[in-house]
Symmetry: C2
Subunit: 932 residues, 2 copies
Amino acid sequence: MVRQGGATAWAEFDFPARYPIVFKDFFRFTDGDRAPMARYVYFFADGKAEGSSRLRSLLGGKGCEIAEMTNLGIPVPPGFTITTEAWAEYDRTGHRAPEALWPEVLDGIARLEGVTGAKLGGASRPLLVSVRSGARVSMPGMMETVLNLGLNDVTVEALAAWTGNERFALDCYRRFITMFGDVVLGIERRDFDERLDAVKRHLGARTDPEVPPAELRKLIQGYKAVVAERAGRPFPQDPPEQLRLAITAVFDSWYAKRAVEYRRIHGIPADWGTAVTVMSMVFGNLGETSGTGVAFTRDPGTGERRFYGEFLVNAQGEDVVAGIRTPEPITALRESMPGVYDELVAIKERLEVHYRDMQDLEFTVQEGKLFLLQTRSGKRTAAAAVRVAVEMLHEGLIDQDTALLRVEPARLNDLLHDVFDESDKAAAIADGRLLAKGLPAAPRAAVGQVVFDADRAVEWAKGGKRVILVRAETSPEDVAGMWAADGILTSRGGLTSHAAVVARGMGKCGVVGAGDIAVDEERHVFEVGGFVVREGDKISVDGHTGEVVRDEVKLIEPSISGELEEFLGWADAARILGVRANADTPEDARKARELGAEGIGLVRTEHMFFDKERIPIVRAMIMAADKKSRAEALAQLLPFQRDDFVGIFRAMDGLPVTIRLLDPPLHEFLPRYTELLEEYVRLDARGINPDRADELKREMATVGALQEANPMLGHRGCRLGVTFPEIYEMQVRAIMEAACEVARASGHVEPEIMIPLTGTVGEMTLTHAMARRVADAVIAETGVTVGYSIGTMIEVPRAALIADQIARYAEFFSFGTNDLTQMTFGYSRDDVGKFLPYYLDKGLVPHDPFSVLDQEGVGELIRIGIERGRRTRPELKIGICGEHGGEPESVEFCHRVRMSYVSCSPFMIPIARLAAAQALIKERKASRGDKR
Amino acid sequence: MVRQGGATAWAEFDFPARYPIVFKDFFRFTDGDRAPMARYVYFFADGKAEGSSRLRSLLGGKGCEIAEMTNLGIPVPPGFTITTEAWAEYDRTGHRAPEALWPEVLDGIARLEGVTGAKLGGASRPLLVSVRSGARVSMPGMMETVLNLGLNDVTVEALAAWTGNERFALDCYRRFITMFGDVVLGIERRDFDERLDAVKRHLGARTDPEVPPAELRKLIQGYKAVVAERAGRPFPQDPPEQLRLAITAVFDSWYAKRAVEYRRIHGIPADWGTAVTVMSMVFGNLGETSGTGVAFTRDPGTGERRFYGEFLVNAQGEDVVAGIRTPEPITALRESMPGVYDELVAIKERLEVHYRDMQDLEFTVQEGKLFLLQTRSGKRTAAAAVRVAVEMLHEGLIDQDTALLRVEPARLNDLLHDVFDESDKAAAIADGRLLAKGLPAAPRAAVGQVVFDADRAVEWAKGGKRVILVRAETSPEDVAGMWAADGILTSRGGLTSHAAVVARGMGKCGVVGAGDIAVDEERHVFEVGGFVVREGDKISVDGHTGEVVRDEVKLIEPSISGELEEFLGWADAARILGVRANADTPEDARKARELGAEGIGLVRTEHMFFDKERIPIVRAMIMAADKKSRAEALAQLLPFQRDDFVGIFRAMDGLPVTIRLLDPPLHEFLPRYTELLEEYVRLDARGINPDRADELKREMATVGALQEANPMLGHRGCRLGVTFPEIYEMQVRAIMEAACEVARASGHVEPEIMIPLTGTVGEMTLTHAMARRVADAVIAETGVTVGYSIGTMIEVPRAALIADQIARYAEFFSFGTNDLTQMTFGYSRDDVGKFLPYYLDKGLVPHDPFSVLDQEGVGELIRIGIERGRRTRPELKIGICGEHGGEPESVEFCHRVRMSYVSCSPFMIPIARLAAAQALIKERKASRGDKR
């Protein structure tokens, strides 16, 4: 019936006598996407629409695709779309619709009446319409829709007479009052549903259709009473008034809390606004030859090329959404309505080829006639995204650039790790098992038994148990426990707190800052909302969402496909930005290479200091009263560090390895002052154990002297290296001895010595000279010539500003965007939890700047730093090693400013590889003036 | 004898027969300042010099002025100057003199021999020379000099024969060995002096001249033995060798520790280096008609126009310096050598007119003949500087711009406060009374009795005692005690610690971070180097130098002269940069106006919260469990704040007043966690007073929840205002109610509401809208129309980077350079004491960036912020309100980047006024291409 490739006049359709959708060849539009003059209303009917896919920002996703389908000759009910410009005017003027809008809407209605032969509010052939929202991008379930608009006490009778189906007409009216009451008048749906349920109970009816017309009439009277009472005004009987209110309500739904929240999460600008599509109603609830359904052109779960969807006989769309009845698979339609099925298959094939992407369709069958109500790019799992992209390329539907752009880089995460079975999790939450929601710090899913200290975590994990380490916050002493655990949950700290950074780095599941949880580490319990979780209890932690659920939620194993490998291979060929890993151990380094790292961008040497065997030596070094005893302690540390570096160099087999010299303040290696104080005061108060008291007093003196008001801005980084040069000398020696040893054996090694926290040229000159002196001495001693370079992190704003001077000595830069973000914003990442959630909520910042690089502020410093650095040294190698190196938007930025590489946690590497490829592709498209 | 206005040939002088300075008309130079080709040696003799004042950077201060005087025909012994370029080459090549230098020096010596008729190392008429250092600027006492060079075992006899004065010749030789041994060979002077003292003791001689020739001969043998032993080589007998070694030693003295330290303090670049002047010796120790002296063309203490100086008969310069004998006043010379005196007066008049500045002269009289050895701009007290400048202008010697440039702005400090009697302080230090040296935090002098807590300070001060408050560090709770005290001394903290900032703000004397002092606040003592100072003991604290001296040092009252007022009046007329004050109280505001403030650039509202009466309300506000009880507490605070603002507005009588909304984190108003913990653990351990323990537990919970890892980067500034809008609303209401009240009475008020710590546009939009809403509401309520503006501090690097966006809402900017410095460098001002002293010492930073604005880094952000801010809002009012607003170099910077005003502590205002004038004058001169 649908004529492929040509326009199909609506008039050709054989409409049922009872519901008079009579389309006339009424209008002829000028050609082109836009009507000759700017206006607020775009009409579509009769195989011809004002507008097309290209007007997405003006007509919204739904509106533009309806226009596109209309122009393709696909059967779509006629109607018109009110543009986002009307909304923008509404927004600008403090919620007043533009004056020109209403006459245009009335004109649209008149045209619609002309096309359909029905009349809004007509006493014989009433026109019913749906009023649907449609933003530029889909915001599923966030925005409002009103169906069956146009019904009132008069038209309902006209509809009954016209369709010969009183029950249908009354049911439509009942539904309309409910929806209009809910969406437009702000009455709770429950207030209506209670009455319906009461009637059904009274009648012993199981489903709505069992309610007879007489009862429906009574129910409608009751519904109107609800409206009068709750809204303080009678239910509006004037259909144009209904329409005006409904359009306004759809406009307003843009400001609803859930919509604001959704936009915040998905980074959708608040000023995009929504279009409104007003469309002739078609009915899937006109009997057994009617129905409604949704379908995907391929399987959205796996990506397999098969027609996939669901269909519900004798129903309207809302029944599907409400989940009251169970739909049948789309294939069942082949049996029940083979003609419709064939037509639908032909349309879906046509749409997929037309859009060159997997489509998600909504359709309604009215008494055997098929109508498409919507088409859009189908949401899909990460696995499906990869498979569809790869297969469409093989099918010749898309080119490689398009294929690479089809997968959202961050979603690759799902392919590398276990994920929760979403339906099981939803059931658990519905069951009241959600304990708390924290910050999604490390995107993994974990189920395990709760432990409250690192030793217990290690012990239980050795015994084969899966554990979740729960702490108020973590410290370097917890690292072994964190490694042993599957997941980490803290009640304090932000997305770049110690727990978050380490969890991400280890590829663990991490939820932090779950403030509702009160952790009692002494008693080995945590409490939340009166519920107590004890050591050994099972919980499920979702690092993607921040959810913490009691007991076990089902996990789904990842399936790493050959397609992913092929896909990432294309990405590697399509990018110019290098991808390295942040790795502190040979194991990390090996993992990183497996995942595609082309080098290591950051080895944090201090992580090597926290080892149980080493920390006493480190402390002795710090407590050393003089240079000599410090030198002795450092000499003991040297072999440990050297062995670490040997392992890493070997694992990387000649790829570049950037090693950062000691960065954190020394007091991080010491016990905390308050702990010592507490013990001391106890002892002192009781007058017992004076020896221990004396010892504590000495320790407190040392720790106290090292304490800092703002350790983040304190005595750390190269400030330590300048004031205690012997520490950096030892580290450079260890690096170079390791490099020479590995080079002697294999010949392949490329060490890059990195000075942290440089802020002045003087620091760079001094540390550079020291490092060169020591390195050259080691080369002379060993007789092995190893090429090495010396560079610096740029993490203090001043360093970016004087990058031209620093580059005189630094052979490479690595932007430490964690610290740079802290200092550029003046936000302590440990304290940001006190106000940042509020800022995100209010939209004062678009993202957590510790997750997504702030391109405007921090990025501006990066641009300045790169420009000035390369002015001095054009060949300067430049990377990033902050937490942002694995975040797709930030990776794209790094590409645009022409960094040499990004460096990120090993598990983020596939994401960075894809994001880097997409960045170049997008840039090329933009420079060619392509529209996306 | 000296012919004014013309060249005087050396040959015309009537030289004594016994010391054969025979100058011949030997050379004729080409005209001009530079000899025809670049070289290392510049000769002067015979009324004609290669070089002049204009070659200061090449010839050093001493060398160029000797050339200038030579050209003026003033009697100067002939010689030559080795340029700083020779030193620069020496420096560049790792301490190797340039090859061309030595031949040029030998040539210079040959020319000198030609002029004088004497010969270096000559066995009959030996040439003796002095070898003197001379940097571009005077570094008094820092660099080395060798006199009497050319003497050896042979020439000493020749000199004795030639002068007919054996004792003189031997004494010169003795002195030469001592000086050469000390300066060139690094032998301690004491090693020689001990032997001389022994001889004098043995002979019962009181003065050197009493030692007879025979004993001097023995002494010389002994000195040579000392050299052989200590230096491991015999005393060099070859005069050219002596000269080569002496020149090298003078070069090397640039690197001496004390010289490095001096340069660091005075901001002298390390690469300037020194010139070396080799000059024929003249002798003031040839008997009663010989002598040596120093003189100033005006009184350097008061500026009075009278000839001022000292003269020592029969002595060499080193005797004056050594202070062994007491010199006579210069006027005594009128009696003893009237001819010499008249000649000297004529020369001094001529030099003052020539240089148009007060001169400091060195001269020697050799048997009735006058020789000038040096002239330079005379050092003077601040009072003298002002008086000389004012009087020279009245005398028509200089113009107003020159007069204004003649006074170093920072030195005006001395005119507004008591200063120590320097000789009394020197005596006290010589007496071993120096207790410690800390950081000079607030430049005042104070003498008082030591107290260890604020209450005692208040109590004793009320009783009329002058007190010095000594604390490990201060906190806001000490403020009342600091106000009561004359001086503040702390053992911890840097130049921008709480103690330092508050002391400066209050115009108190402050020395901080005196690390040698161990303060025991419980026992009310401090200990330093084994010495114990108890409560009530007197100490003297010098905030200019950081010195802490036991007991009382005499103070000199300041005399504020009419000249200063006249002088500052010129400054006001000569500047375009506004000067405002940082003031938190009506008293401060009045003081600021007295000192010339044109408005208040910063009222810190939080200082009003620390008042005893208010702090409990503030704490109740913070501890408030809900919005309602917080609102109640805020309502109680409102009248206090309003009254404060009324007082300030009245004091400023219509001048603009910028009021910053609450800035510090809330926990600053609460007790410290460790204190609470300590008390709690004690109570808990003893099981006593469970009620107090419970209370403490609650307090600890609140304080603990507010604690921050890095409070400087935490929940403060407008972050508080955004999350607790009711606080800012109360403050804006208090400001505007006060403004309306004052406006109703007088009509004059100009409030500027300032949002602190803005970093995002969102913060600015939100707080701006809030402030406008509240302000307009108050205006509507009171019916008084008050013009007000709303602006922001720029203190977060990001704010400077997005200043174009912030300026859309901000009507003014004020750069908070304290925080901006912290964040741009990543230095916590509270912790910087751990490494900054080391950095300053190593020259890694030229200044403490919290004292002197870092123009390269922080200044770059300021430039960016101003440029971008004014791009959006060209008329944007821009100021600075950090600690830098009263520092002259920083004020000059603020002028250059076209800020509207600087704001500083009231006592810094005269400094800022002068610095602002100088900035414009310098700029005009530079744009005219003037050389300064």
